[in-house]
Point group: D2
Chain length 345, copies 4
């Protein structure tokens, strides 16, 4: 299997290079960049020298078709909307990491992204690639919208409760804490070390574009429209997302029962690990890996459940899940090339 990566000089793209280099069934046929064509990848990222270096190429779907079977787009929203259909039109399987093909509602896209959505033919065609929830769709897909980092951590945290009808879905509050790499390699005061270090802040409160994506997933599970509260925070670390999810239980349940529900729901899903009672996961426990670790606590006093989920935003929240989607698409074991031990400490 030969793969191509578009947008290789962003953090999502370079993480794809790392993961595909370690994949036993995939070879990297082309790494493309709109801004740095003809330069060595190691110019931008010296860490790949001698192990996964390559010459960056201009983006050219027709040329890619001759050399690759699947293309990963790690391009920003707006840019993916333009390129992904062209690759698909060449007959390539497409896995797009941007937000451009995730939302089925054009209205929601406009409201949260602030510009026109992608070609509705491809939005319709795109399969939302969250394997633990919608794996069956992926098996037959050729065009995958890879989920956002926050929506991955949030959806995996809330899905078993929502699907089982144990909670009021409109009571869901997601308080997310993210490392800075989620903002990408672009420059802004929001990623300036002296501003971010020793600092925590909330941003885009009640207006983050991942809100409708989270709601869309919950709606598929409960079968009706929902409105949730989602607050992203920036914490002074590079990688990792921790979601703390709060929801009101419709009936009395214990922590043990909730944990058992999750264990059953994620049975046979190697990338989701459920902590035993009294233990909560930490982001560092999944660093560099495709795991999503989850802990639960039910409070009898308030009849609320608290779910804590952690992922590496660049792996399970981006490039790792994209490779997992490829594995599922191809009918391979979904852990192929991804079953690393996290880097700890």
């Amino acid at each position: 299997m030969r793969a191509a990566v578009v947008g290789s000089t962003g953090y999502g793209g370079i993480e794809l290079v790392r993961l595909l280099h370690a994949h036993p069934r995939v070879g990297l046929a082309s790494v493309m960049s709109s801004s740095q064509a003809d330069a060595a990848l190691s110019e931008a990222y010296p860490h790949v020298a001698g192990v996964a270096d390559a010459t960056l190429e201009a983006i050219d779907p027709a040329r890619v078709r001759e050399r690759a079977d699947v293309v990963f787009l790690a391009t920003p929203h707006g840019v993916s909307a333009q390129w992904a259909p062209k690759f698909a039109a060449e007959g390539l399987a497409v896995i797009d990491l941007s937000g451009d093909f995730r939302l089925k509602s054009a209205e929601a896209y406009r409201a949260y992204y602030g510009h026109e959505p992608a070609d509705p033919v491809y939005v319709e065609k795109a399969v939302y690639g969250l394997p633990e929830l919608f794996g069956q769709d992926i098996v037959e897909a050729t065009f995958i919208a890879n989920p956002g980092c926050y929506p991955t951590a949030a959806a995996l945290a809330v899905a078993p409760l929502a699907a089982a009808g144990w909670i009021d879905p409109d009571s869901v509050i997601i308080d997310a804490k993210s490392g800075v790499s989620g903002a990408g390699r672009g420059l802004s005061l929001a990623v300036h070390f002296s501003e971010v270090n020793e600092n925590v802040t909330a941003y885009k409160v009640n207006r983050h574009q991942h809100t409708p994506e989270i709601e869309q997933t919950i709606e598929r599970l409960v079968g009706r429209p929902v409105a949730v509260t989602f607050t992203p925070h920036l914490v002074p670390m590079t990688r990792g997302i921790l979601c703390t999810v709060y929801a009101s239980l419709t009936e009395r349940r214990t922590t043990e029962e909730a944990i058992e529900l999750y264990r059953q729901y994620y049975e046979g899903r190697p990338f989701v690990r459920i902590r035993p009672p009294g233990r909560m996961p930490a982001t560092k426990e999944v660093l560099g890996s495709n795991f999503c670790d989850i802990g639960l606590s039910v409070d009898a006093r308030t009849r609320r459940v608290t779910v804590v989920s952690v992922i590496d935003n660049l792996v399970k929240g981006a490039a790792g899940q994209a490779v997992q989607n490829l594995n599922v698409m191809m009918g391979w074991d979904e852990t192929e090339g991804l079953m690393f031990v996290p880097l700890y400490p």
Copy 2:
């Protein structure tokens, strides 16, 4: 005015030394430590050499009485319960930074602290020292229970809404993110750099001892029992707490109305700063200072309000608030010795 500090080798104690050194009306008469008597304070903390050094003394209420008018106890819970009454019995004004005299309910103390509460005579006598909410009580106090770090940030975030009856108090969810210094200078894996750095985790979920303290304050404001959800998280920074508070509005309100409510509620309170619409505070914006900065956002979709408050856990969350309490007790301007510009960046 002459002050003494007990527990000077902890982070709360050494922060009192810093703040009292800068106070124009207070002299530091004695710094005491149970463990390191006769050593120089600069042995444990080289940063005070040449500016605020002193010889540590054993804890001795009778000797302190001869030299000081007020004593600050920066000792752990359990230890304060033993010493604070002895200082009070000597006629000294007492400001205790531990949790031992904050909870009026002995039952709640036992349930969350796991041991017997302090002498009920002093628990009764103790005034809860949150000047922005209960300043009038403090004016006449001689024994003050200085609030916890999380309860300070949480109470200041929720008080105007609770007092105005705009929210259902039982809907309150407090998601708090704290720097590591809140755990003190003691050694444990939970403060080991290699474990904490590049890591976020939730701890003591649904069982943290600050939960009943937060509830007690809200109950005073709304006049009935409440149960809230409180989740503390550890983030990889030294100082700072950010509380994200969620609550359901009883009626439709706008962000602008909520901000106006807060501005009026904290009118004349120099340490509380309300951000304009669309801006949220960051912990670094209060670093080293006694400020509590607050931002608000109302979501019409969910009819919930999100309040974000930030403090420096060692200043407004501990030593700074203790000095502010002294100022109020003495009838001085409450900003005396505390009106620093935060250290930024």
Copy 3:
């Protein structure tokens, strides 16, 4: 005394605002910015709201003269070269924090800064403001070139040995580690959190512009030309510089003798603190303060001495030293407004 600050929206400028706010003898008459005139300072820096806010003004020497007695320029090199003479021509005392007036050699300036030096009349007039070494010059100065951050830490570390003739000055190697704030608030990949965090790197090896500034100071002390090795490193913290200085001793000496030399040399200099044998300073022990702490170790095996000095790069390395220079210029106690306890932890 009324002071004005030019370049208030940089880190050096905002630190001057913090320090001048706390100064008992100085009022802040004007804060100027070339880029953001008419905006509130708190727009760029919310942390000053309610305590040291002001409206930014355009840079206008004639207007400043009517309202201020001294002007601090916290502008980049190149910019200071243009503005500082204009303020001086209006009769204002000038304290310039850039590198434009530090180097007496136009050749060295050109070689290391890469452009033409400032007007030689003012380069000649400028007094190099390192009070612990050249305090007498400052007393009579009206135009001060405030030293660079690295040169301050390096010069204070090496001066007693150089002045006493204990070392071969050409053997001096300065290995410096700096926090990121020294690079300012401007945007670049070199200050991007995800690139800097969990990372250490050396930069501008053998070509940093502070090299000739360090040499110029040593040359004044030893009376002949010297060439030293200076290597700056970036470490993942916001504030602080640690210089490790190596030099070959001309005769056998002990650590105790070296420490005694330093104690005598810095006698009566409150901002330099010498550690006892076996103890080395840490940057955090001077955080937010104007101290320079120094530790020493002589190695009999190699006959080399190792000197470790630490400063807060924005205080003793920039704004604090500028205020100290003002104090000395005015004949005030040099600690006026500067004798804080460092912020620890």
Copy 4:
């Protein structure tokens, strides 16, 4: 090939578990711990759950012999001295990560480690496992003393210059900056987050136990006794060491010539990467990998060369090099199981 790991609950041990899990030719037969036998490894390290978990066993050389061919000791110095000979006596190949078998000089061991050295029979037998310098010795070894983290980074930085006779070996000064994980998982104030974060310090100046180990390597290359200066520093990051090495050139050389010397010296050595002129490596560029990246700069003014080397202290500085040694011992490709792309950012 079946391997056993002793000291699995330390950072070196758990890193061995990570690397051996990814090794295509090695199976993990036993993980041992003196303190936590019978517990699951995932109790101490939740990140291995579901991927590399195991039950910890008591240390028992006879039992290990039945199940393994090679044993890695990731135990502290003093402990390895006791256990390593027992495993060797059982006929197992031994790779010891402690300092107990590295120094051939008993006198140096006593002077720097402060206690008696290990059995001289095994000290004599032990091969110093630095494959890029002494690979031929390793091929025939059955008992390997795996180098220290600092000595690895320092020796690889200085070896080509020393071996070529380009420098005066007694002029060598090594200024090293290390992340905190090098200090292990044990508790002390020196690894307390609030003390280490936003802080840089030097420690064990002129008395660190890696000094004689570095000298021993240089002495093998130059054929005579040398005395170098070595200063370790602690920087606020988890992983990584950067060594800045200074040495006086015996003749005029250029940066380009020095780089060419290094390229030739490390020809065919896949884990050493030499940067082109003007580029210096950063620790993050080797994170999680077995690479040692090196940059060079010659200063014609001082006739000194500055060499900067970086490694991940837990990989090339410990567990990775141990696995590399196993590969070389076994006659496998030395990159087997180790040719990862570093984790960036």
